[in-house]
């Protein structure tokens, strides 16, 4: 078991973006992502998930620093002005399973 220090990029944004962002993440070389449903509050007020237009998603992408930077930059440029969105990164250690941690098959 070898480990590798890398980044976890967390994006919390509007549910309506799910399909779009999944496509963009693919394009930006994220080898994987995980999405959970969420609700919350921020600059754009309360988003209580009562129905689609006020629902959030929480996307996590484990990737190297460069990819995280590229994704974040892209989202900032194209989405953060017009959508409820917060982005942050943290350091994680991805446990090297039998396969390399983020290589597409």
């Amino acid at each position: 078991m070898q480990n590798r220090t890398t980044k976890l990029l967390t994006i919390i944004t509007e549910s309506v973006l799910e399909t779009t962002l999944a496509r963009e993440l693919d394009r930006l070389n994220a080898r994987g992502y995980t999405i959970t449903d969420a609700r919350g509050k921020g600059h754009h007020g309360v988003r209580n998930a009562g129905w689609e237009p006020s629902s959030n998603i929480r996307i996590e992408v484990a990737c190297d620093e460069a990819t995280a930077g590229a994704i974040a930059g892209f989202l900032e440029k194209n989405y953060s002005d017009n959508y409820a969105m917060i982005l942050f990164t943290s350091d994680i250690e991805v446990l090297r399973l039998n396969r390399p941690p983020s290589t597409a098959t």
């Binding site: 309506v16 449903d37 007020g45 009562g50 237009p53 629902s55 959508y83």
Partner: protein, 315 residues
């Protein structure tokens, strides 16, 4: 007398305003709206099976034109009278040119409990009216520039949940006909009003959350949310009369015209005109126009339809 399903809307609104703990899970809202959309589609489809398609063509073309027209009237009003920016004006205009399935259902329930007949193929017109104003809204916001990604916008607009379910229901109803559907009648038709009651309960809860935004965005929006449907209702009444619809049908068309979308348009606008503030359009369409139509507008449109059919017929 007030229709009991309206009381469910009021219950939801009051519970929401009092900040009760009552809440419908999103999955339940989805379930209910899927059932309603399918039911409405199926009902319309059955009717289509009964009549030659070609006789409906004039009506179909007319309501598509109506959708374009209403958004074209709303846009300058919002832009110059309301002083909204271009994107917001275009987005709100798209909401008001498109239609609300919930309002349609309440209108049908209104006629049903009074046993007033109407043209049963109305769901066909409903689905046809969903899309044009949305497309017009995007054009108004973006212009007809080359850059606009029409393919992905078309995908968003024509493959959204409500168009797919309404259209799918129409096709199934049309292919299967009344006899074919008899086995699913208990679910989709007998329970319709019950599902609608729960839907309106949830709409009440959602409406209550819009009141806050309204306070922020001022009285123009409130006025627009009342005057625009009255105007559209009048245009719809005229068109219904001109198309030779019955009184009930005229009233339904007026209601469609007067109603503002809160399912198809918000989703499409959010993706295609992201710089428009969704709070504005939802506050107007859900916070003002939906309750106005459901509580006050529908009886008015009925009166309009009766008046059109007596005055104009007599004239």
């Amino acid at each position: 007398m007030i229709d009991p399903i309206i009381l469910f809307f009021l219950l939801g609104a009051v519970a929401g305003l009092l900040r009760s703990e009552l809440r419908l899970p999103a999955a339940v809202y989805d379930f209910i709206s899927i059932v309603l959309l399918l039911s409405i589609g199926l009902k319309g489809g059955i009717e289509l099976a009964r009549q030659p398609f070609v006789t409906l063509l004039p009506q179909m073309l007319a309501v598509v034109a109506l959708g374009f027209l209403l958004s074209l009237v709303a846009f300058p009003t919002l832009r110059y009278l309301g002083r909204f920016n271009r994107a917001d004006s275009a987005s709100i205009a798209a909401h008001y040119g498109s239609v609300s399935v919930g309002t349609y259902a309440v209108a049908v329930a209104y006629l049903g409990s009074r046993e007033i007949a109407f043209e049963e193929h109305m769901p066909l017109l409903l689905v046809l009216m969903e899309v044009p104003a949305i497309i017009m809204g995007i054009i108004l916001a973006r212009g007809l520039s080359r850059e606009t990604r029409w393919k992905s916008i078309g995908h968003e607009v024509f493959l959204g949940k409500s168009v797919v379910l309404l259209l799918g229901g129409l096709l199934i109803g049309w292919l299967a006909g009344p006899d074919g559907l008899s086995s699913i009648e208990p679910f989709f038709f007998d329970l319709f009003k019950g599902f609608l009651a729960l839907f309106l309960l949830e709409m009440g809860l959602i409406t209550a959350t819009q009141i806050g935004s309204l306070r922020k965005h001022g009285i123009f929006l409130v006025a627009f949310g009342i005057v625009m449907p009255l105007f559209s209702g009048l245009v719809g009444t005229g068109l219904g009369w001109a198309l030779g619809l019955s009184i009930g049908g005229t009233m339904v068309l007026a209601t469609l015209a007067a109603s503002a979308s809160y399912i198809a348009a918000p989703a499409a606008m959010r993706i295609s005109v992201p710089e428009a503030n969704p709070t504005l359009s939802l506050a107007a369409s859900l916070g003002i126009t939906f309750p106005f139509n459901v509580l006050i507008g529908i009886p008015i449109y009925y009166t309009m339809a009766v008046w059109a059919h007596t005055a104009l017929a007599g004239g």
